[in-house]
């Protein structure tokens, strides 16, 4: 496939979006308490290391996307939900962190379990 002028604007605007137009049941709903798995693949992952094992709350469901961990290695899209998950600063960084600060991170379904 060759690059044609009609392809360029969309590609530049979205950075090649990984959104997938299929119906997949979400494992979590907004408001659910979750624990991030202790996930350490030697292959590609979009889970930031500092989230491993941390407790958070589902804040928003973005919809269905290709799963980077498989997609990066030609192992298929494994489409699944990606969520905005809220973590307290103290959960992430301990008692020295400001009490009211929170952080929202985009986390894929496969990286979490119910808490």
């Amino acid at each position: 496939m060759l690059l044609t002028p009609d392809i360029v604007p969309g590609l530049v605007a979205t950075g090649a979006s990984a959104r997938v137009a299929v119906e997949v049941a979400p494992s979590f709903a907004v408001g659910d308490a979750v624990r991030v798995l202790n996930h350490n693949p030697q292959t590609h992952t979009r889970l930031p290391g500092y989230l491993r094992g941390k407790l958070g709350t589902i804040e928003k469901d973005y919809g269905v996307f290709a799963f980077p961990d498989t997609h990066a290695h030609g192992l298929g899209e494994k489409p699944q939900h990606c969520y905005s998950v809220r973590f307290s600063a103290r959960e992430l960084w301990g008692p020295g962190a400001p009490e009211r600060d929170t952080l929202r991170v985009d986390v894929f379904d496969d990286y979490m379990e119910p808490s």
Binding site: L2, A16, H44, Y50, A72
Partner: protein
């Protein structure tokens, strides 16, 4: 991959320095590198995830000392080498030619 790219929470890296009136590209070659994403993405048929993973595999010391678009160039080279669009020998020869002032 637990690599050098995963900098979240690391101490000692200093503040994020912002530049007043920052240009989109600091050097003309950066604009060309940006354009290469669209063309190589389409004809080489890689995914943005494969692209990101290639960047993660840059040797750690080099990763920290090289610029954003140098990381992109590394990923393009990986994708094109892997698919056989270019060989390592061809790439090295081209770099050597450019270093010596050739075109």
């Amino acid at each position: 991959m637990n690599g050098i790219h995963d900098l979240g929470g690391m101490h000692g890296l200093g503040p994020v320095v912002t530049e007043a009136n920052e240009p989109v590209f600091h050097e003309p070659w950066e604009g060309r590198a940006f354009a290469l994403f669209a063309s190589t993405f389409v004809f080489a048929g890689y995914t943005v995830d494969e692209f990101r993973h290639a960047i993660e595999k840059i040797p750690p010391a080099h990763y920290l000392e090289s610029s954003y678009y140098e990381h992109w160039m590394f990923a393009f080279e990986e994708a094109l080498l892997k698919r056989g669009f270019v060989t390592r020998e061809e790439l090295d020869a081209r770099v050597a030619l450019l270093k010596s002032g050739g075109h």
